[in-house]
């Protein structure tokens, strides 16, 4: 990775105009937006970090890095339409411009994961940041041991990156298990909560790290399964979602206990979270 640029304080809240180079619908409610970052003004990013995307007059929204660091200065973002900003992001045309601030947050500790076996669990939109991580692993496959990916979605239609799932599944060096809560007629795979995929998981406690991203309800149940594996808490990583306004540790919206999720997180080890009672 190239050397990092220090963002001058003057531009702390200044969105950098960034051209949109591709827009593609992934599902009914999620679209994949590709932008070309200005490498003079925006630093390289890591999986687990996020950017603030904005449109004048509409507002800003935190969106996770979806592409692997190798793609820089290209950046992909996967956006679910839920409200004001996200609805407008869905209407973007190729060639238009959006405002971008970031990258923000700590990201997944890649150095710590190197050489480890990895257990990756994605619930719903949690696949977005993990897509960046998995692609990074695929590009640097020799750096990691056994890699297991568990992915749970409500229904088949909500599965993100279907083409890539097929590729990952057929590589032979990734153990991919997918579960949907509710099957449709075409679904041939596993049906059930993501937790029911743990029956396929066996880990070498001595050298496995887990990375888990999903909605708050998922953490509760997945952590019950993870605890059964007896992994050391400092090798279990979770990414938290909180309301965010500034992304730079000032506005207080994402605060839990003495930390701000936007700056000190969003990725935390389970070890850290145990001392943060409000976290999960």
């Amino acid at each position: 990775m190239s050397e990092s640029i220090t963002i001058p304080e003057q531009t702390l809240y200044l969105p950098i105009p960034t051209p949109v180079t591709a827009v593609r619908m992934l599902t009914k409610t999620e679209c994949l937006i590709t932008v070309e970052l200005d490498p003079d003004r925006i630093e390289p990013y890591r999986p687990g970090q996020f950017f603030m995307l904005s449109l004048p007059g509409i507002g800003e929204a935190p969106i996770s890095v979806c592409s692997p660091p190798e793609a820089y200065p290209r950046l992909q973002l996967c956006v679910r339409r839920v409200g004001k900003v996200t609805a407008h992001l869905h209407q973007l045309a190729v060639g238009s411009t959006i405002g971008i601030r970031g990258p923000m947050g700590n990201g997944v500790p890649l150095e710590q994961l190197k050489g480890q076996d990895l257990l990756i669990a994605a619930g719903g939109l949690g696949m977005v940041p993990l897509h960046a991580l998995i692609n990074h692993i695929v590009k640097n496959r020799a750096d990691y041991g056994t890699v297991t990916v568990l992915y749970g979605a409500k229904e088949p239609g909500e599965l993100l990156f279907r083409d890539e799932l097929l590729q990952w599944g057929s590589r032979g060096d990734l153990n991919l298990h997918i579960a949907v809560n509710i099957a449709d007629e075409d679904w041939m795979g596993h049906v059930g909560m993501i937790t029911t995929l743990f029956q396929y998981v066996s880990v070498d406690v001595a050298k496995t790290a887990a990375v888990i991203v999903g909605p708050p309800v998922m953490y509760h149940f997945v952590m019950q399964e993870i605890r059964k594996l007896n992994l050391p808490p400092e090798r279990i990583f979770l990414s938290l979602e909180r309301r965010m306004k500034c992304g730079v540790g000032k506005c207080g919206h994402c605060q839990i206990n003495e930390i701000t999720v936007c700056q000190d997180g969003p990725v935390f080890s389970y070890d850290q979270l145990k001392t943060l009672p409000e976290a999960i």
Binding site: E9, L12, P17, P56, G57, E60, T97, G99, P215, G252
Partner: protein, 345 residues
Amino acid sequence: MPASKISKDDLKRHLSEKLTDYTLVGPVKSRLAYKFDVISNVDRLEIEYTTTVLPPKKQFMPTVEPLIRFQGDGTAQLPLIPTDRPVALVALHSCDLIATDLIDTIFATAPGDPYYKTRRENAVILGVRCMEPCDTHAFCNAMGTLDQKGGADIFLTPLDHHFLVEPLSKKGETFLAGAALSHSGDEDAQAVGRIANERDKQFRSQEKVDLKALSDAMTTSRDHEIWDELAGECLACGTCNITCPTCYCFDMCDKMELSLVDGERRRSWDSCQLREFAEVAGGENFRGTRADRQRHRFFRKGKYLFDRYDLTGCVGCGRCVRQCVADIDPLEVYQRLLERRSARV
């Protein structure tokens, strides 16, 4: 440094002269209460006053301020913060001085907030010692902020006809250049000690809050019955946050002109007592009940900021309880939490 003093009239005269080079901001009286305001005639300035409605923080971080300006051509620019004239912020009480230190720490912690820092660096602060409790709600003495000078550039102590004057920085010395200072002897210092002694007895509580013990007590008070009690009383109106000198949370939203292409991204003071403060997409609310929000507020005052910055998150100014129609009183909350702790230990 030799102690010096200035007569009250001479200080006024000096401040009046400074109007040519400085923008003067200080307490003025409105109907019943005081507010910090720009002063063009020093006769309006009330150096000896009781605590203002809003804290002086608004000088460095206005209640509503533009962060970004959008232009019709699709570009975004930073608004200009004029610094051609320094600001003299006059008559901050000790509680507000310590609160300013806290906000300075947070807004200067990397990455620093450029708007706050620009205004803050452009200001010279004159602190003033309180010679009596500002009212029956104050508990600065209990929080250890009374008589503190914090980041003041000059600290004044009012006596009958004089102010004792302590310059505390280069900026302060520059501001005082040309003032009619005279030597202040031991008798002045003794007078201050005497008055302060009397003053201390008039505060509503004589007991000091042990900040470390408070933080520890909070660690084990997550499920204390007090949060539900407070939830029963609290109206979630936000007043306590908006008026607090150590609250700094803000909201960001865009406001466009009728052209729909020119406009601003603004920030405005926010309150963690409001229902939507911690709500995210999908309707999940991490502090959906008033009990959760009251606990967050008081933990922030008594624990989170202290744990992180080793500074008190509550300076005891009493603004929140003075203006809370439900009379929710932080000192009572702290004392309750400490009580249970001592009962347990």
